[in-house]
Structures are given as C-alpha cells and as structure tokens.
C-alpha cells in the first residue's frame, strides 16, 4: 500500500466523491424542481381546507372543490379570513400559532359574527406524539369547540358539560393544556378582529 501514488491517495478519492455528489444532487434537485409546484399546491390546499373547516363550510375534501369554495367565499383582510358561507352568514377565521409539547401548533380559529362564539377550530400543522397528543386533529376534539364560547377550562376526556368546559385527551395532558392556552389566547384576542374592521 505504501507504493500508492499521490494521485491514488489524495486526488482520486476527491474526484470520485465529487462525481457521486454531482450525480446525487442532479437526481434530487430534478425531482424537487419537478414536484415543487405540486408541493406548493398541497400546502396551499391545507391552509384553504383549514380555513373552510374553521368557518364551518361543508366541503368534500377534494382539492378542486376546496379551491373553488375558497375563491368564491373568502377574502383576506389584514390576516383575517372573512368567509361568506353559502347561507350568507359571515365567519371570521384567523391563524394562531402557539407552543405545543414538542413543537409549534398552528391552528385556524373561526368566529361567528359576534366575535365570541367559535364557529370551528382546525389544525394546520402540529408535531405532537402520534396516537396521543396528535389526536388533537381528530374531529371529536376539534368539533367540541363549535358553538361554544371561551375561555375554556379543561376537564377529563368525555366529561365536559358546561359551555366553557373542554374535553382533554387522556394521556396527553400537556398537549391538551397547550391547546387550551392557544384557543384561549385566540378568544382573548378576538376583539382585534373587530378593531381591524
């Protein structure tokens, strides 16, 4: 091995590594660029779907119809989505980001036109424990806020009765607390929507 030339020892590895890197980068970059538009459409779709969910607008979950509904009934004014529902009533949806147990939770919170009653809550992104905290995405959990008025208190899963009580998720107390705080902050700040008008 001592007879290896300078080229074999020093230059050749660099050349090989450079070639492999260029090949790998070409493959991944091409794939990234060809799917970029699709990925952006997907992200847009998630936001639109969340806004419609929070405003309580029925949709079939198909990208085309969600886009059509959004184009028809939603206008954005100072970061507040003004959603006109098919029956003519108006909903105000705002995005709010707060700390979860593992990472930020981004939520769309919808208000009826009295700006205190919630019309819906939907999760845009979260990073909670799968199967436990991630259950905040389940319909029974987000659905419990519809038609309620905050601020909310947390009670054991399945025991909420009063208007300001929310079911926590068993096994995910910290995530539930974090979520309660996010919703309560949205409720407390809801008058800013009125000021914005």
């Amino acid at each position: 091995m001592k007879t290896q030339s300078f080229y074999t020892r020093r230059i050749h590895p660099i050349v090989v590594m450079a070639l492999v890197s260029i090949a790998c980068i070409l493959v991944t970059a091409t794939l990234h660029l060809t799917t970029l538009e699709r990925v952006q459409t997907n992200e847009q779709f998630f936001v639109w779907r969340s806004v419609l969910d929070a405003a309580g607008v029925d949709h079939d979950g198909q990208p085309a119809s969600v886009a059509a509904l959004f184009e028809d009934g939603v206008s954005v004014q100072q970061d507040i989505y003004h959603v006109e529902r098919p029956d003519g009533s108006l909903r105000y949806v705002r995005q709010i980001i707060g700390p979860g147990l593992w990472g930020p939770i981004t939520v769309m919170v919808g208000f009826e036109d009295d700006l205190t009653t919630l019309s819906g809550v939907s999760i845009v992104s979260q990073n909670e424990t799968p199967g436990l905290g991630a259950r905040i995405e389940e319909a029974w959990f987000t659905g419990q806020f519809i038609g309620r008025q905050g601020p909310f208190r947390m009670v054991e899963e399945g025991t909420s009765e009063a208007d300001d009580e929310m079911d926590a998720i068993t096994g995910a107390t910290r995530t539930s607390e974090a979520f309660r705080d996010i919703i309560n902050r949205a409720v407390a700040e809801s008058d800013s929507i009125a000021r914005g008008q």
Partner: protein, 203 residues
C-alpha cells in the same frame, strides 16, 4: 451464481439473520413508528425501497469507490434515495407525509441500511445485493408490522384507524407511548429467538 445462493440470501434476513431481532439493528425506528399501522406500512415501504436500491447502487460502484471514502459515498447514496422517498410522499401523499414528520428523513440513519451495505453489498454482485437489501427490508417490515398490530390494537382498539374493539375497550395509553414499543419489541424478540435459535447454540 448458484440458485441456492439466491434462496439463501433471500431467506436469511427473514429468519436467523433478521436485522431487527437477530442483528438488533434499526431499533430506533422500530420503537418510534410502530404505534399506528398505517405509519408503519409507509415507513416499511420507504426502508425496503432505500435498502434494496442503495445496496444495488453501492454494489455497482463497489470497485470504483476508494476504501477510505466509502462511508461518505454510502451515506450520499442512501440520503439520495431517502430524499426521493420524502419528495414523492410530500408531493403525492401529503397527509401521510405530515403524519410521518421527521421519521422519513431518519431512514438515512437507519443502521440496517448502512449495515447491509457494509456487510454485504461491498463484497457481492449487484443482483445479489439487491436481493439482500430487499429481503432485509422485508425482514424489518414484518417485525414492525407485528409490533404495530399489537400496539395499535391494544393502545387504541383500532387497526389502520378502523375501530375493531368495541366501546367497552379502554385503550392502553402506554402501548401508544414509547415504553409500549420497548415492551412489545422485547416480547417479540423473546418469542422469535426461542423459535429461531436453539438453546445453547450460537448459530
């Protein structure tokens, strides 16, 4: 290449040489993604794809790679395939991609991939390495699926998100949490090793 060799290469990772319960590789992802079956299926497919193709690629290049930089080349090739999986999921299965979060990217650090390349693909022909990578992926996948089956069933009473056990069933929260993974993996290893390894022998 002898036909017996192909069969042996394919069957070894399913039993005696199983990457999870015999070589104890890839434990981190085994614990992390097995609390729901659908996550597990996608993760397994990603690992099978990455393992088979990166074993094949490295085996093709094995004579051209200077041995002092082989690990860098291996990591680069593995990372490329993992990013392909990530981008495809992100573009075509965005809901699944959101659920799996960082786990897809972590396939890069799955020790099975690097382990099979170092132990097998560097010494064997591309076709045989492809089979070895694929079979190791299957060996990994079936262990994960069995563990995920019990964790999801006992933890939430569902399979693939569908309610299986009635409302009388109270989910064992611990099964969904990381400790449940440790318990199930240990039980699985115990049973599998009883089945595949005779008492007192090292084979």
């Amino acid at each position: 290449m002898a036909p017996g060799m192909v069969k042996k290469t394919f069957l070894a990772p399913l039993g005696k040489d199983n990457p999870v319960f015999a070589q104890i590789l890839g434990i981190c992802s085994t614990l992390a993604v097995t609390n729901k079956l659908d996550n597990t299926v996608v993760m397994s497919l990603g690992v099978i794809f990455t393992l088979a193709l990166s074993s094949w690629t490295i085996s093709l290049l094995r004579k051209a790679i200077p041995s002092r930089i082989r690990m860098m080349v291996e990591t680069m090739v593995i990372a490329t395939y993992v990013i392909i999986v990530d981008i495809v999921l992100k573009a075509f299965y965005p809901d699944m991609w959101r659920q799996l979060g960082p786990y897809v990217g972590l396939i890069i650090t799955n020790c099975i991939v690097m382990g099979r390349i170092e132990a097998f693909a560097m010494q064997n022909k591309p076709s045989l390495s492809l089979i070895d990578g694929f079979a190791s992926g299957i060996g990994y996948a079936y262990v994960l699926l069995v563990i995920a089956f019990f964790r999801e069933l006992l933890g939430t009473g569902t399979l693939f998100g569908f309610q299986i056990l009635g409302s009388w069933w109270t989910g064992w929260a611990i099964m969904v949490m990381p400790p449940g993974g440790f318990f199930m993996l240990a039980i699985f290893m115990w049973i599998a090793r009883e089945a595949f390894f005779k008492e007192g022998s090292n084979e």
